[in-house]
């Protein structure tokens, strides 16, 4: 809101404070203002300031409650936009992270929009697990008073596309709630679909909600996602890549890069647990190969939603997705080229997924060559999405830098080498000193506890990243809570990421314990969950002493195996039944003592 309109009646400030603030603000340029706002937000958080609760507001009939269940921040972003649009219409909005929503308020709720992503094999994102469980559990009562709509975000290359949104939609209907609008199930290029749905859904809610031009201020429990910087996902900061250092040994089967990016003068701030969004450009050589294979002139002009008219070459490099495969491309490409065999594959979801598991766009085109226009090609490809990397540094340690731990996706298939889009861009195509467009994606569901609380961190592979940030943070803060890290990778000599730093943390006592699992150093493979089990008694002991437990890394296998190991530990060392053990970790999760950042 503009500062000029600020007055003592609508703020917690005194008249004098308002005057002083306005005077100061008038001297600041927009970037400085943004920085101050971010600075104040962070310092207020650090001081433990409690933002006003929204629980009371949610019971007010005139309020539209928007809950977001975000895995990578997209749902939150869509929900924030919906909130802004609703407020433009004069509606009173309560925007809330679904993780903090009190489920007992649901029976009084009248107007609800849920924006949710889906993770893994059709599971709700971490923040929505409780809500999901409640909705499907015995405690859920009938909700005849409720008008709702659900927007799902997903990735059509997964089998259970937008499953959580489908779950919410069907279950709320089942509980007697009134579905005001059919759910939108949107793919990774969701912008247009989200905008359309938003207009439709608000048009339906608006008449039901009172006009609130004079309504009391409802304070959102969600800090603005940009945290005071002028830069965000829509307007990324053009940063300088300052370091690109391979941190696996020369005979490693993995290429992992330690990336340092300068955020100097951006006003961007982050906390340990946050992610960095990275926009990338596709490999010009890959683009050339696609154009050659399809016989399309690089200079052919195409029209894109986002950018308008550009050459197909620029579109492929800058705007379209080439390295992650997805079924919609198969369908559209098969239909444009009229290839019946490919159409058959695309029609069979299982076959299509299998087919795409190892193929990038070019592989499909080379296997099923066909002719199509530049515009058809552009239309068959979805909009490129920035990649999110868990941040591997703490600003307490690195100031205006941000560090990433990037596993370079590189493999040989179909007689050619393949490189990941963003990881290839960061590792191979950018030189130190080059620019890269970035933004900070906050993740309040992956946060360190108080300084004196012990933490157990499980971060094999590049899952180490946020824990490097945690350790830097706790080291600089002089935190007294003990830290225990479990790390794993194939080989000790080649793949011990940040080995020297971790040795130093261990030596200085910042790490109380460090357990490592190098799976391929012996005949029998050993993983982090095995190490966890081996130290089960001690792990249980730490948990009993209030330790927070964190997992970062592969969600499809590792996180499940670690979870199973935890349950086993509770059974073995806590004397719990399997069910009680599962419930124990459910409670830990609800109280934010068990957090995951998995992908």
């Amino acid at each position: 809101m503009p500062f000029a309109s600020l007055n003592a009646l609508t703020s917690p400030l005194s008249a004098q404070q308002v005057q002083d603030l306005q005077k100061l603000v008038s001297q600041l340029n927009p970037i400085q203002q943004a920085w101050v706002s971010g600075f104040l937000a962070v310092s207020a958080q650090a001081a433990g300031a409690q933002l006003p609760s929204v629980a009371a507001a949610s019971a007010t009939p005139s309020v539209l409650t928007i809950l977001f269940a975000s895995q990578t921040g997209n749902a939150k972003s869509v929900a924030s936009k919906l909130k802004a649009a609703a407020e433009q219409l004069g509606l009173n909005v309560n925007l809330q992270d679904i993780a903090s929503y009190k489920t007992n308020a649901l029976v009084k709720e009248q107007h609800l929009v849920i924006v949710t992503s889906t993770y893994g094999e059709g599971e709700p994102p971490e923040s929505a697990v409780s809500f999901h469980k409640f909705l499907f559990g015995k405690k859920a009562s009938a909700l005849p008073q409720l008008n709702f709509a659900v927007l799902g975000l997903g990735d059509s290359s997964y089998e259970y596309f937008c499953q959580t949104a489908v779950d919410f939609d069907t279950q709320l209907t089942k509980l007697g709630a009134n579905r005001l609008q059919a759910p939108a199930l949107l793919d990774v290029d969701y912008d247009t679909g989200a905008a359309t749905w938003q207009a439709e859904v608000l048009a339906k809610f608006q008449p039901l909600l009172q006009s609130t031009s004079q309504a009391a201020l409802v304070v959102s429990s969600v800090a603005d996602s940009a945290h005071g910087s002028a830069f965000n996902k829509q307007q990324p900061f053009v940063a300088e890549l300052s370091v690109n250092q391979k941190i696996t040994g020369r005979t490693s089967t993995k290429d992992v890069r330690h990336i340092e990016i300068s955020l100097a003068d951006s006003g961007l701030t982050y906390q340990p647990g946050d992610a960095l969004g990275v926009y990338f450009q596709n490999d010009p050589a890959l683009v050339q190969a696609i154009l050659t294979a399809t016989g399309i002139e690089p200079t052919s002009v195409v029209s894109l939603d986002a950018t308008g008219e550009v050459t197909i070459e620029r579109a492929l490099i800058d705007s379209l997705e080439l390295t992650q495969s997805y079924p919609s491309f198969l369908e559209k490409y098969a239909s444009s080229t009229g290839n019946s065999e490919l159409q058959k594959i695309a029609a069979d979801k299982t076959a299509a997924r299998e087919f795409l598991a190892t193929r990038q766009t070019l592989d499909v085109i080379l296997q099923f060559p066909g002719s199509l226009t530049a515009q058809q090609l552009a239309d068959s490809l979805r909009k490129q999405q920035p990649r999110l990397y868990s941040i591997a540094s703490s600003q307490a340690e690195v100031g205006e830098e941000v560090h990433l731990t990037v596993g370079v996706v590189r493999y040989d298939a179909f007689g050619a080498s393949h490189l990941g889009g963003a990881s290839g861009y960061l590792a191979e195509r950018l030189a130190e000193g080059d620019n890269v467009r970035v933004f900070v994606e906050h993740n309040d569901n992956f946060r360190l506890p108080d300084h004196d609380t012990p933490v157990i961190m499980v971060g094999p592979g590049t899952g180490i990243a946020p824990f490097r940030a945690f350790l830097q943070e706790r080291d600089n803060a002089g935190a007294t809570g003990q830290n225990w890290l479990f790390f794993g990778n194939p080989h000790f000599t080649q793949d011990f990421l940040y080995q020297v730093e971790l040795q130093d943390y261990l030596k200085r006592g910042v790490l109380a314990k460090l357990d490592v699992a190098f799976s391929r150093d012996q005949a029998q493979k050993v993983y982090v969950q095995d190490k966890l089990l081996a130290k089960g008694a001690e792990v249980w002991n730490w948990l009993q002493q209030g330790a927070h437990f964190y997992i970062c890394g592969d969600g499809s296998k590792m996180a499940r195996d670690v979870h199973e190991a935890l349950v086993q530990i509770a059974v073995n060392h806590g004397g719990l039944s399997a069910d009680d053990a599962a419930e124990y970790f459910e409670q830990l999760r609800e109280s934010k003592r068990y957090q995951k950042d998995v992908y």
């Binding site: 250092q245 391979k246 080995q499 490592v516």
Partner: protein, 575 residues
């Protein structure tokens, strides 16, 4: 000082002062145990921590890392590629074919470099063994009757014995003494068996009657040598038993004490020194004499300054006669006058020879002692193929070569064919190459200041060119290159010795002789290859024209005054 006080000590002959930290760690090590077992379970580092880094040496291992990639790994935020080098205890260098096959397999499968390195200590080394493989390595060795006890550290190391397959009877007797001396001077601690072989910890009041509970002040090297063949280089060793035979039977030894080549660049209190002849002893006193040369050095060696701790400095400090009398007093026998002997040469006798027992022996030239499968020369496979059919034994020489010993006439052709097929026997190898030697140095040795093993082949090619240029391609000079002044490659007994100073830079020493009885002297200080080659070109040119009949290069450079002769190291070497 905490030492067994079996013998009255004259404190005036001891060096007083604060003991070096190595003395503390030896004393506190609980007879070489330290916390090695804990370190073996530490999965966070591939290295050993604290005192254990040095204690593992007493168990025959050095912690090393691949220095070629040390900087690269630092950038990768990875620790140095820590591994260990293992040096086996093989008195006299004799190894059986079945033992060879086992070590060959281990080297291939479990070491970073996949090689077997024959060394100047007449044994083999594994290079690049990672921590998880260390215990299995010792257990494998134990299963074939080999250990690595005390092949490094402040103890008596692997005992050398002249490789003389011709005089087979004398050699057998000398070899047996080498083995007996080695056993007699071994540490008595059970630490090795407990740590590496998982043998039960026995509660005993363990003592080290010979070495002492804080072991020796510094490394100690022993040889058994059969004149006139000085392949073991007695003057590089603390204690030498020079075999004296009558009618082809061993009757006793002349005892030479106090040789050693190690020095420190820039420290004039350090120098290479020849051994002193104490005189003759008969066989029944051998073990006692060995023991008490060790105990005198144990009691009077410098434990304050490690750079002056070796026997050679003790002898120079307390005097040859004092040292000798102290040994006599402790043994209870006086040395008899030295029996006559002479040293004529040091190189190995390459090719086939027939022993007096009628067996045949094939000495193979192994450049740098490195057995590895090179693309065009599968040397390591070659030896293992021979081991599969060989009925005799193998003998590693102090010149880093390999003898296939005890071959029946009927098997000669097959052995030779295998050797030739694998590049182990090449007629084109020059005398110069056969008489050149280098220590291991880069990339594994942590002490190396310059390349040695990897540089030697190129250097020899240059020297071959120089000899050919001056029309003496069939001649040779004893040429040795070492990466540091520590002495492993025995450059300080070469006619031309290069001692590493820094990357690409060496000191050039000239004036040793073919028999290995003279220490060379510094000629060029801290110079690069070009200057070394230009100098050798000029001097070898002069030698080819001005030498007396049969005059070796080392004798020539002294006669014509290129360098002064080192007669008494303490006064002459740095003069």
């Amino acid at each position: 000082m905490t030492k067994p006080t079996q013998y009255p000590i004259n404190p005036d002959l001891q060096v007083q002062g604060a003991l070096s930290d190595n003395e503390r760690l030896k004393t506190q090590s609980q007879h070489l145990r330290g916390t090695i077992t804990t370190d073996l379970q530490n999965e966070i580092t591939g290295g050993f921590t604290g005192d254990n880094f040095l204690l593992v040496r007493f168990h025959g291992m050095y912690q090393q890392d691949d220095r070629d990639i040390r900087a690269e790994r630092a950038e990768q935020k990875l620790e140095p590629l820590h591994n260990v080098m293992l040096r086996a205890r093989m008195p006299g260098g004799i190894i059986k074919p079945e033992q060879w096959l086992a070590i060959d397999k281990f080297a291939s499968e479990k070491t970073l470099y996949g090689s077997i390195r024959l060394t100047t200590r007449q044994t083999f080394q594994f290079h690049g063994v990672f921590k998880p493989n260390i215990k299995p390595m010792h257990q494998m060795l134990n299963s074939i009757g080999i250990d690595s006890i005390a092949t490094a550290g402040d103890v008596n190391r692997n005992v050398l014995c002249t490789s003389n397959p011709v005089e087979s009877v004398l050699h057998q007797q000398a070899y047996e003494w080498a083995a007996k001396i080695s056993e007699h001077l071994l540490p008595k601690t059970r630490a090795y068996a407990e740590i590496w072989l998982d043998e039960e910890k026995v509660e005993t009041t363990e003592t080290e009657p010979v070495l002492g509970d804080s072991y020796l002040p510094r490394k100690f090297k022993t040889t058994v040598m059969i004149p006139p063949h000085n392949d073991v280089d007695v003057h590089a060793n603390d204690l030498n038993f020079v075999a004296i035979a009558e009618n082809g039977q061993l009757v006793g030894f002349n005892v030479l004490v106090g040789g050693g080549l190690a020095m420190t660049h820039g420290d004039k209190a350090t120098y290479p020194r020849r051994a002193e002849d104490f005189g003759f002893i008969s066989l029944e006193h051998v073990l006692k004499v060995a023991e008490h040369v060790v105990t005198v050095q144990r009691d009077y060696g410098d434990r304050v300054n490690r750079k002056n701790a070796k026997t050679k400095y003790t002898i120079d400090r307390i005097g040859v006669d004092t040292f000798k009398q102290e040994v006599e007093k402790r043994v209870g026998v006086a040395f008899a006058p030295s029996r006559p002997y002479e040293f004529t040469h040091r190189g190995d006798r390459f090719g086939w020879v027939e022993g007096i027992d009628g067996k045949h022996h094939l000495t193979l030239f192994i450049e740098n002692g490195r057995l590895l499968d090179y693309p065009d020369k599968p040397l390591k496979t070659g030896v293992s193929e021979i081991a599969k059919i060989h009925k005799g034994d193998f003998r590693m020489t102090a010149n880093q070569n390999l003898i296939i010993a005890g071959v029946a006439l009927a098997d000669k052709a097959q052995i030779e064919a295998l050797a030739r097929a694998h590049g182990l026997l090449e007629d084109s190898v020059t005398e110069q190459r056969k008489n050149s030697m280098a220590c291991v140095s880069m990339p594994t040795c942590p002490l190396a200041m310059a390349e040695a093993e990897r540089y030697l082949p190129t250097l020899v090619t240059h020297v071959e060119g120089i000899l050919a240029k001056h029309g003496i391609a069939e001649d040779h000079i004893i040429l040795r290159v070492v990466g540091c002044p520590n002495g492993c490659g025995r450059a300080m007994l070469a006619e031309a010795g290069l001692v590493g100073r820094g990357p690409g830079k060496y000191n050039l020493y000239l004036g040793g002789n073919t028999a290995g009885t003279r220490i060379p002297k510094l000629y060029l200080d801290n110079v690069a290859e070009a200057e070394i080659l230009a100098t050798l070109d000029q001097l070898i040119g002069r030698w080819s024209l001005e030498r007396n009949a049969g005059e070796c290069f080392g004798d020539f450079v002294i006669r014509v005054g290129v360098v002064a002769e080192v007669k008494i190291s303490k006064t002459d070497f740095h003069a």
